[in-house]
Each structure stands twice: as structure tokens, then as C-alpha cells.
């Protein structure tokens, strides 16, 4: 068991400030399914941004499809705007190996050619396996490989972190 304590609500406030500083006039928020999508939904509201946020799923571009197969209903991607020429601000809860981010960038380009893609995350837990870096992370932590960190959202819409130790 880990003694690490992460206050998701406090980190969210930091993320909101960080995202605000990254916004450009042509920016749109795109949350990575599922935790990132919750964050983008709330950021869209709290930062009083016009229009709807986007949601993007890594399912159709994952590199572990051969070993894991399709998990459940595959595609949650909903981009209610033109991707072409936009400044895409990707939002995720936890950045780890970078493989999900890679898959999501491929997914994004299936819809058009954005002007830029930037990544902001709640937690950067290190352990990168690809050359991907966030423009903003609310906190950086180090966790053992066997631990899984996921964002949870309660009925009132408040965030909390769930840390599980996976069986070896």
C-alpha cells in the first residue's frame, strides 16, 4: 500500500490556472477519455469557454490491440468542432508511459490537421516510454510500476484519486 496522498480537488484548481495560461484565441479543449474528459468538461465550465469541449479516445489507435483486443465499446471520440487549423489543448488525468497520448494524437489527425497540439495533465507520474512531455502538470510524482493511479468522480462531480496495486 502506498502512503501517497493526492488531493485531486486542489490539483484541479492548479490545473485550471495552468490551462488558463495556455489558452489562445483559437484553442479548444479536448479531454482524453475517460478521466481527462471529466476534467475538460469541468474546465470548459469553470473557465467560461464558449462552445463545447471535445472528447477523444485512444481505443482505435492503441499499440497493445494485438495483446489486449478491443475493450468494451470502443469509441468515445466526439469532436464537436473542426479540427483543421485549431490549437488543440489535450487534457488528461494521469500521464505515464505516453502511449495513450501517442494513440490520441493519431486519432486526432484522422479528423484533420490541427495548427498545434498541447498537453496539460493533472498528474505526471514519470515512467515515459515515448518522447512526450506535457506543457503543464499540476504535480509530478513517482510511483512503483505495479501501482495504478486513476481519477474518480463522485455524484456531485468532485474528483478524487484511486491508487490500486496490481497483482504481479
Amino acid at each position: 500500500m502506498s502512503t501517497l496522498h493526492l488531493d485531486a480537488e486542489a490539483l484541479y484548481a492548479d490545473l485550471a490556472a495552468g490551462v488558463r495560461s495556455l489558452l489562445k484565441p483559437e484553442s479548444v479543449l479536448v479531454g482524453i477519455w475517460s478521466g481527462g474528459a471529466w476534467l475538460a468538461e469541468r474546465l470548459q465550465r469553470d473557465l467560461k469557454l464558449a462552445g463545447d469541449h471535445g472528447v477523444i479516445s485512444s481505443a482505435l489507435h492503441r499499440d497493445d490491440f494485438g495483446s489486449r483486443g478491443l475493450s468494451g465499446a470502443a469509441d468515445h471520440t466526439k469532436l464537436p468542432f473542426e479540427v483543421e487549423g485549431r490549437a488543440i489543448l489535450l487534457i488528461d488525468d494521469v500521464l505515464y508511459t505516453g502511449r495513450t497520448t501517442r494513440a490520441v494524437i493519431n486519432e486526432l489527425f484522422d479528423f484533420g490537421r490541427p495548427a498545434s497540439v498541447t498537453l496539460a495533465v493533472l498528474v505526471d507520474r514519470g515512467g515515459r516510454e515515448l518522447p512526450i512531455q506535457p506543457a503543464f502538470s499540476a504535480v509530478r510524482v513517482t510511483l512503483p510500476r505495479g501501482q495504478k493511479l486513476t481519477l474518480a468522480r463522485d455524484a456531485a462531480g468532485r474528483f478524487a484519486f484511486d491508487i490500486k496495486t496490481e497483482a504481479p
Binding site: A59, H61, G66, A73, A74, D75, D110
Partner: protein, 320 residues
């Protein structure tokens, strides 16, 4: 030794081949329909391709002619980034006397990853699934009178798309049911998904009474069969049935069982009309119905691609 396990499922109960809807649990059918929903949107993207089957070879083995089904399987495989090889077997190796299993062994030596099989003999896809290497997947694209599972699934997708829920529906299947693998697959799927009333409608020569054992209501009167229906699935009347003395004439069949606007008015006002195609206008369906507001025959074709993408990506992701 023969295993009692459903040959379509691995030890974890995951789908590794699609051979028949019969015996598949509701959860597997629902997974396919849900996944198809997500692939439908892929067909509307700027880039209509996802890399799930990149580097895989899909062999379309059509021992029996079919343009539409083969084409939709080809499009589905290509949208998943697979390499697709179409073999017109009817005109090649079997014509030279090669056995089915020898053909499969040869194609396996060419590193096939998936076989999409249509065959006039019921059970041919099962035979192939039992004899191919563990990493190879088989999809039944229609075998004899037995099954046409992807057509059954795309029919279910269409029904769910328009009706949302299966549990309060009356579904009438009309026409040549005895020779129809589509009808058989539809009946199994509708039953598994919880449709309370399934009717089989047609003349005695084409609608056998033993369908009642499958929980189906048999109606030899068209008005009785479609009255109050939410969904009407018309089947193609195969011309060769006429010569087999099973029917007096196409005109006679249309008079009794052809779907006209007048007969359609007996169904619920929001009933949908489906047909697996190709349609015979003026034989089983009136043009005004086929082209009318309640017809969903062309959406069925579009949904068929997404359903076949779902089936191929699900089985390719599961190991034997």
C-alpha cells in the same frame, strides 16, 4: 476428441470466430452492436481508416457468388487497414478438384490471418475453423441454409438504431423462410436479445410449422402476420423456388405476401421495413414501400459495414 465448448468462443468466453448467432450469449451480441456504433462514426471521418488490423491479411473466400456481402466485407476490412485478398474460388482451385481443407492449408501457408467464408454447404466455415491454425480467425459470410450471422447482426443493429430497445417489439419475418439463412440468424438473434414476439409469415411451402419449436408464431395469412408489427423483415424470393413447384407464380406470391402500402398500413404507424437485398420489386415488395419513408433498406447496407468492422476487430483482438 471433440470439445463441448462453443467453437466460436475461447476459454474466457471471448469471440474468436463468428460462425453462427445460435449459442452466443446476449453479452457478446451486445458487445458487437456497441462496437459497431463506434465504427459508424469512423465512416464519417476525414480519414475513414483505423489501424486495428494493420499488417493482417484477410482472405475473402466466396465459394458461392455474392457481390454485396463480399464488397461490404472488403470495405470493412480495408477501413480497419487490413490487406484484403479476394478469391473467386468458384472459378479456381475447387474447379480443379482441390479439397476445401487443401485450399485452406495453401492459403494458410500464405500467412492468412482471417478467412471470410461463404459456402453453399452448411457447416463449411465450422470445418475451416476447426482445421486452421490457432491464430487464424473465421467469419461465416453465409453457409447453405444454415446461417448468415453478420446479416443477422446488422439487422439487429438496424432494429436497435430505430427502436432503441428489443424487449417490447413485435417482429414479422415475411417470405421464403425455409430456405433463408438470414431468417434463421435473425430468429436466433431476436430471441437472444429478448424480442417477445417473432412471427414467421408466408405460405405453408415456405414457412415450416416446426418453427414453432423455436418460439416463433407461424402465420400463413399476411394480414395476421404483419398486423401491429414494429418491424417487418422482407426476404428475397429466390427465383429458383418457382421452378421447384413450391409456388404457383411470382404474381400469385406478390398478391398474397408482397408488401404493398395497403398491407403495410396494418403494421404500427412507425413500423420499419427491412430487406437483406437484393430486392425484387413487384415480387416480394412494392416499389412504393421499398422507396417509402418507412423503408430502412439502404441504412441497413451502411450499418452492415460498421457491424462487419466490429466483428472483425473483436475476433482479431481475442486469442484462441
Amino acid at each position: 476428441m471433440l470439445s463441448k465448448r462453443n467453437p466460436q468462443l475461447n476459454a474466457q468466453g471471448e469471440l474468436i470466430h463468428l460462425l453462427s448467432i445460435e449459442g452466443l450469449p446476449r453479452a457478446v451480441l451486445t458487445q458487437i452492436l456497441d462496437t459497431a456504433g463506434s465504427f459508424l462514426s469512423v465512416n464519417e471521418r476525414e480519414v475513414k481508416k483505423v489501424p486495428l488490423l494493420r499488417g493482417k491479411s484477410v482472405f475473402n473466400l466466396f465459394f458461392e457468388n455474392s457481390t454485396r456481402t463480399r464488397t461490404t466485407f472488403e470495405i470493412a476490412a480495408k477501413r480497419l487497414s487490413a490487406d484484403v485478398i479476394n478469391l473467386d474460388i468458384a472459378r479456381s482451385s475447387t474447379a480443379k478438384g482441390e479439397s476445401l481443407l487443401d485450399t485452406i492449408a495453401n492459403l494458410s501457408a500464405m500467412h492468412a490471418d482471417m478467412f471470410v467464408v461463404r459456402h453453399s454447404e452448411s457447416g463449411a466455415p465450422y470445418l475451416i475453423a476447426q482445421h486452421c491454425a490457432p491464430h487464424v480467425h473465421v467469419v461465416n459470410a453465409g453457409d447453405g441454409r444454415h446461417a448468415h450471422p453478420t446479416q443477422g447482426l446488422l439487422d439487429m443493429y438496424t432494429i436497435r438504431h430505430y427502436k432503441r430497445d428489443f424487449t417490447g417489439l413485435t417482429v414479422a419475418i415475411v417470405g421464403d423462410i425455409v430456405h433463408s439463412r438470414v431468417a434463421r440468424s435473425d430468429i436466433h438473434a431476436l430471441t437472444t436479445l429478448g424480442v417477445p414476439e417473432i412471427r414467421a409469415v408466408g405460405p405453408k411451402t415456405l414457412v415450416p410449422g416446426d418453427l414453432r419449436e423455436m418460439g416463433v408464431r407461424v402465420c400463413h395469412d399476411m394480414a395476421e402476420g404483419i398486423r401491429g408489427a414494429d418491424v417487418i423483415i422482407m426476404l428475397r424470393l429466390q427465383n429458383e423456388r418457382m421452378s421447384g413447384a413450391m409456388l404457383p407464380s411470382a404474381g400469385e406470391f406478390f398478391k398474397n405476401y408482397g408488401l404493398t402500402p395497403e398491407k403495410l398500413a396494418l403494421a404500427k404507424p412507425d413500423a420499419i421495413v427491412m430487406h437483406p437485398g437484393p430486392i425484387n420489386r413487384g415480387v416480394e415488395i412494392h416499389s412504393a414501400v421499398a422507396d417509402g419513408a418507412q423503408s430502412v433498406i439502404l441504412p441497413q447496407v451502411t450499418f452492415g459495414i460498421a457491424v462487419r468492422m466490429a466483428v472483425m476487430s473483436i475476433i482479431a483482438g481475442n486469442n484462441a
